[in-house]
Amino acid sequence: MSVKLANDGGGGIPFDGAPRWANHTCEVCHVGAPHLVSIALESDHPELFTTGWVPEQQYHLRVRLLNEWAGLQYVANGDDCGQIDATPFKPCDDNGFSLELDDATDRTTGGFQQVINTACSTAVPDDPIVAISKSGAAIHEQDNGRASWDVCWTAPPAGTGNITAYLAVVDGNGGTGSAAFPNDTINDDVAAGAVPLVEAGAGSTNNVGGCNAAGDTGGLGIVLALAVFALGRRRRLLLGLLIASSASACVHVRPRQRETLAHRNMTFGPDPAEDELDLHMQESREGSSGGYGSSGGGCGCN
């Protein structure tokens, strides 16, 4: 396999949140990011994210920067920008990414290839969009105005076990827009995250206590099953609750997988003040109460 080696990103270190970089992301340099952007990892084989990776199989991966906002006014400049001797000077919409896939020992695993004309290729493009760093991560080359990057990844041999994809993006703001400071790490935006990938057919080790990790559909099914149970007899309800609780207790989601769960709307009762007002109104107009938190004191007789 022949790929271009590069030193770009973090002074030669692709800070993508991997343990070998002490979990540092691009934000280690691009400080003060407001976190308005998001990040996504996509594959031509959707089952990569469900049933897991297949040994020796090649995957076409795409890293996407979502909700880009910084430097958008410079997109039209494309690569015709950043020349400090140009008059007038044209700033760049300079975004970047880093992706690596690590095994359970936190070492990179599998291998990257370039994407040429939407196909995986061992050839080296004259003007690559993606480069492979010396440390084994896929990172951006200077292709300004870009918010997504494609790379091919060949899975390692069977028996490698669980793999984690670490990825990070920078939404660059074009520096200060001047020849004196054509680029800097200030006022950029950053997003980073990790995606667990199990080895297909090897049995999940992404669990606790020997239980299989439940998928989203299964979890939602648990809740729906509870609702059905609840329409029956009370004992069936309690039995259903116990079964559901036992099943959900088998799941283990790592801290670095909880970016989405940290959203305000993924909490129960995202607006406690509103809940207090609504509950007080509801409980004074219905015969039921309880289960949703406090509605405050007082009569509520109106």
């Binding site: 407001p34 031509d44 994809a165 997003a191 989405t260 305000r264 039921s288 289960g291 004191g297 007082g298």
Partner: protein, 353 residues
């Protein structure tokens, strides 16, 4: 190669939110039963140490009502009342354990309430599981306007336990059980029950409403929050409730959140509620009974609420909101009122650092 896209979900919170905040809201409730309630609320939360957070709050209900509860009595009138409540709460985190407690004082001209609560949240299994236990005590002095001799007490105890479980990077579920026990005067001091041979007949007498002195309440709630892509999520919950007065109810709620832009978020909500009547409730009492109620909240009813809320992030630290809920109540066993419609509108401003 045709790229079939599948998503692995990663998303970063759109606004940093800390524990220091100031929230101000005003909600206006208005229904077709001639009742209007204006509820201003302010609430401030601050970290007093790296592990300790204090919350102070104030809320009021300014009520104006000519509901059938009131006009069906001998002294038909429109009542005006104001409830004011001040509250304080503190939480302290020790490792994976959070202790919290609070107190609130609520006052209106014929009702005084002191409420205490405390609880513990314990994170387990690398924070995948959170178990919570709570206890609340609510002590009430019930009076009657213009009647200095009327004084009753009502004590409410509540014990709750909840289990919050992360199921996947995009799904979290919660199971809650709450047991409530009420002891004391639970009727309305203003409501009198007509005794008459038929619903159409003139009352032979009016008897003061009498509910049982004790009541055990059981509420079981299951809920789930599911992320849908990067900018949307859906929440759903179901509550099964029953008590020793014979009321059984079902509540289904759903909320959908989506970002219309980087700064503008839309929430759509739906809530359906249905209950059976209390065992001692009768639409018409032909003779005097031990327990008698003229309370539509103890009759069979169902309600439906739909609503929308827009939240706009002016800056990463300043958020405004506007909401409108529309509701409909149907009463099948309460002759004076067969249905009620209304709105619950609100505006709010939150500062978060």
């Amino acid at each position: 190669m045709q790229l079939r896209l599948a998503l692995a979900s990663l998303a970063i919170a759109h606004a940093a939110r800390g524990d220091t905040s100031f929230v101000s809201k005003v909600q206006v409730y208005a229904d077709s039963d001639h009742t209007t309630v204006i509820s201003p609320l302010v609430q401030g939360t601050a970290d007093v140490s790296p592990d300790t957070t204090v919350t102070l709050g104030y809320v009021a209900d300014v009520v104006s009502s000519a509901s059938v509860d009131i006009v069906s009595q001998a002294s038909a009138t429109t009542i005006h009342d104001t409830r004011q409540q001040a509250s304080a709460a503190v939480s302290h985190t020790i490792g994976s354990t959070k202790l919290h407690g609070g107190y609130s004082y609520s006052h209106e001209n014929d009702y005084l309430s002191n409420s205490f609560n405390g609880g513990i949240d314990q994170e387990l299994f690398d924070k995948n599981t959170t178990l919570s236990l709570g206890y609340s005590l609510n002590l009430n002095d019930v009076g009657r306007a213009d009647d200095q001799n009327f004084s009753r007490s009502l004590d409410n105890h509540g014990i709750s336990a909840s289990w919050t479980q992360i199921v996947s990077p995009t799904l979290v579920t919660q199971l809650t059980y709450e047991l409530g026990y009420a002891s004391g005067f639970q009727s309305s001091p203003y409501r009198f029950v007509p005794v008459r041979p038929t619903l159409d007949a003139a009352p032979e007498m009016w008897v003061m409403e009498t509910d049982p002195d004790t009541r055990y309440r059981h509420a079981i709630v299951v809920g789930a929050n599911r992320a849908l892509g990067d900018d949307s999520s859906i929440q759903g919950d179901y509550r099964y409730y029953f008590d020793t007065w014979g009321i059984t109810s079902h509540t289904i709620g759903a909320r959908y959140f989506t970002h219309l832009s980087k700064s503008l978020e839309l929430r759509l909500r739906e809530r359906f509620y249905t209950q059976g009547s209390a065992s001692f409730y009768q639409e018409n009492y032909t003779t005097v009974q031990k327990y008698m109620a003229f309370d539509r909240e103890l009759s069979s009813l169902w309600s439906e609420t739909i609503g929308a809320k827009l939240s706009y992030l002016f800056t990463p630290h300043v958020e405004g909101e506007l909401k409108v809920d529309i509701f409909y109540f149907s009463y099948s066993e309460f002759a004076p009122l067969t249905s009620r419609t209304g709105t619950n509108t609100g505006i709010g401003l939150a500062l978060t650092y």
